[in-house]
């Protein structure tokens, strides 16, 4: 024992690498005689371990504090009646969820999210696929139409704008009188102006329109990239067999692009569940008129930061979480088809 104690500092000092804990563990695990011979690999091991720990420490810590901890807390806050910044939370079990079940405004919001979940991907993908097909295969002999690059550049632009900025922009475009971009020509034609945002029957469709407006370009570019990797010989062969553009699209493009379409579908579905800024910024009463445009995220924000019902808002968040998980699981299961290899 005294022997080893005397030797240990020698192996430990020369490389400055080994940390205290590492040294102790190794001294315990290995016979004293092997100490000198294994010094070099041990040093490397220790350096490697310190490198790994050093590189992971900051990101993991930040992630644990700001992401993991809040998500974990959300589930427990949902079981409390926490109201107000000063009040302390009291455990109420599933009471929030029971109340939520009878909250008609929340279910209106859920309904809007559900409608968006179906319509936003459907419209966006249908429009984007047609444009991508025209741009890539709608022109000469399977080539793109003239100026296809220009169209791609223009269509994509809304994607780089912030949703909040787009919302303010369309608030002006949709103005209900002669100062609105869309209503001015209607009035000039002698028609009744449309209350794009003020008519409860129309407002939701205006929201959907803005969302589609912003999303289409991204998917045109995405699908174009997918279509570019489809071998041109396939189109040539089909064309020689007398297939028209419609058949080309449904028999070749769509099946070969299915993976990309599936990814797009999931992205848009999640976007539909997370709609917030368009509704919050653009609509009157932040989700109005008369709750006709409200969505789950808006109700969560309103309950948490305007009514200070933290427990109740967290319960809504938990419901949104389960909708998101259910959607992702269903989308992966339903849309998985035989992959066409090419």
């Amino acid at each position: 024992m005294p022997e080893r104690d005397a030797r240990e500092p020698v192996t430990g000092r020369t490389p400055v690498l080994a940390g205290a804990g590492e040294k102790g563990r190794n001294a315990m695990a290995r016979p004293a005689a092997g100490g000198r011979r294994s010094a070099a690999p041990r040093r490397i091991d220790a350096a490697r371990a310190r490198f790994i720990a050093g590189f992971l420490a900051a990101p993991v810590l930040l992630y644990a504090v700001y992401v993991i901890a809040p998500y974990a807390q959300a589930f427990s806050i949902a079981l409390t009646d926490w109201r107000g910044v000063s009040a302390s939370p009291r455990f109420v079990g599933l009471e929030n969820f029971r109340r939520l079940a009878g909250d008609s405004v929340f279910w209106t919001a859920v309904g809007h999210n559900a409608l968006l979940l179906v319509l936003l991907p459907l419209l966006t993908i249908a429009i984007a696929l047609s444009f991508a097909f025209l741009l890539n295969a709608g022109g000469a002999n399977g080539g793109g139409v003239a100026g296809s690059r220009f169209y791609r550049v223009v269509f994509f632009f809304p994607q780089v704008l912030a949703v909040a900025i787009v919302a303010v922009l369309f608030q002006q475009v949709f103005r209900p009188d002669g100062s609105g971009m869309l209503n001015a020509p209607l009035i000039a034609l002698g028609l009744e102006p449309v209350g794009f945002l003020s008519d409860p029957g129309v407002a939701f469709w205006s929201i959907l329109g803005v969302l589609v407006w912003q999303a289409v370009g991204f998917y045109v570019v995405l699908f174009s990239a997918g279509m570019a990797s489809i071998p041109r010989e396939m189109y040539e062969a089909a064309r020689i067999d007398g297939a028209g553009p419609g058949r080309l699209f449904f028999r070749i493009t769509l099946p070969l692009l299915w993976d990309t379409v599936q990814v797009g579908w999931i992205y848009l579905g999640i976007a539909a569940l997370d709609v917030f800024a368009v509704v919050w910024v653009m609509t009157p009463e932040r989700g109005g008129p008369d709750h006709s445009t409200t969505v789950m995220a808006a109700e969560i924000y309103r309950n948490a930061f305007q009514y200070f019902r933290f427990g109740y808002a967290s319960a809504m968040g938990v419901v949104l979480f389960f909708f998101t998980v259910a959607f992702a699981a269903a989308a992966l299961r339903l849309s998985r088809r035989e992959r066409v290899e090419y």
Binding site: Q73, V163, G317
Partner: protein
């Protein structure tokens, strides 16, 4: 890309007549559809720019009238009185810090998780990637209190609490890590082993191999994901809304500021300044996009194409 473009032009000239005969009507229709969508995208933006140099009366008169004179004072008013200049500067400061931090921490973690085998590797990777599936709205309330509590820490507290740049920056970094790590670790896995091994034999440290060899080799991936993060963080609205309250208006980011101006315009009725503010928010994006559109398209679609 280049060879394909060449093939397209070649094919086009060779079969122009045949195509005319077959695709004539479709081609006309498709061009019409493309032109209509181009108008749908460009006209609202152009209309906003036009309104930004109109007087109040002209804005309320007819939406499509041309301004009698170009009123650039709207822009000056938006920049000064409506603080758009201030908001823009705030956004610049926050995004510069948060994207730098995201890329540094994200690439470090991604590299270690992609190229080192150790116990817990898989668990940590899954922990990060699972963050992609969670809706941020679930975390909003606790996040607010986490940041509030961070503000009570000794020394650093005043820099990273509520209503501070630091708090917002750290939250941006944390919420950008899942996608950054997911994307970059896939990228690091594809890099060849040989160069790094040679460097290790020459006695380079792990950190040195990362910063001087692997990081430069991963450049294309780094560029894509940097663009993705810059745009995502620049356009963020929900998180600043929660973390930068009404008492910290001097720290508001651009999205927050513009949205607030639109709400306030109902009362102050400085509509022309609102249009100018809106144009000021769009213009830099338009310029940056025009210059870097290829890289931006690649960066934003990179995640979906994997």
């Amino acid at each position: 890309m280049v060879s394909q473009a060449g093939k397209v032009t070649l094919g086009r000239s060779a079969s122009r007549e045949r195509r005319r005969a077959r695709l004539g009507p479709l081609s006309g229709l498709s061009h019409a559809a493309l032109v209509v969508w181009t108008a749908l995208v460009t006209v609202p933006i152009a209309w906003t720019f036009l309104a930004s140099v109109k007087s109040e009366d002209e804005i309320f008169g007819s939406a499509w009238s041309l301004p009698a004179s170009l009123r650039w004072d709207n822009w000056a008013r938006a920049f000064e009185n409506a603080h758009v200049g201030r908001y823009m500067l705030n956004s610049l400061v926050v995004v510069a810090l948060s994207t730098t931090g995201t890329m540094l921490l994200g690439s470090m973690a991604a590299y270690v998780l992609a190229r080192y085998r150790f116990r817990g590797n898989r668990a940590i990777y899954l922990l990060f990637v699972s963050g992609l599936a969670f809706p941020v709205y679930l975390a909003l309330t606790p996040l607010f209190f986490v940041v509030q509590n961070m503000g009570r820490l000794p020394l650093v507290g005043p820099l990273i609490g509520l209503d501070t740049y630091g708090g917002l920056v750290l939250v941006y970094i944390a919420y950008s890590l899942p996608f950054t790590i997911f994307f970059l670790s896939a990228f690091f896995r594809t890099l060849p082993e040989a160069v790094a091994e040679a460097a290790f034999v020459d006695g380079a440290s792990h950190a040195r191999v990362f910063f001087q060899i692997m990081l430069p080799m991963a450049r294309p991936g780094i560029v894509s994901i940097t663009i993705f993060n810059v745009l995502g963080q620049w356009n963020q609205y929900q998180i600043p809304l929660v973390l930068l309250s009404g008492q910290a208006q001097d720290k508001w980011v651009l999205t927050q500021g513009i949205a607030a101006i639109s709400t306030a315009a109902g009362y102050d009725a400085d509509w022309s300044a609102l249009f100018a503010a809106l144009s000021m928010a769009i213009l830099p994006m338009l310029v940056v996009y025009t210059v870097f559109q290829r890289q931006i398209q690649a960066g934003l679609t990179a995640g979906a194409l994997k």
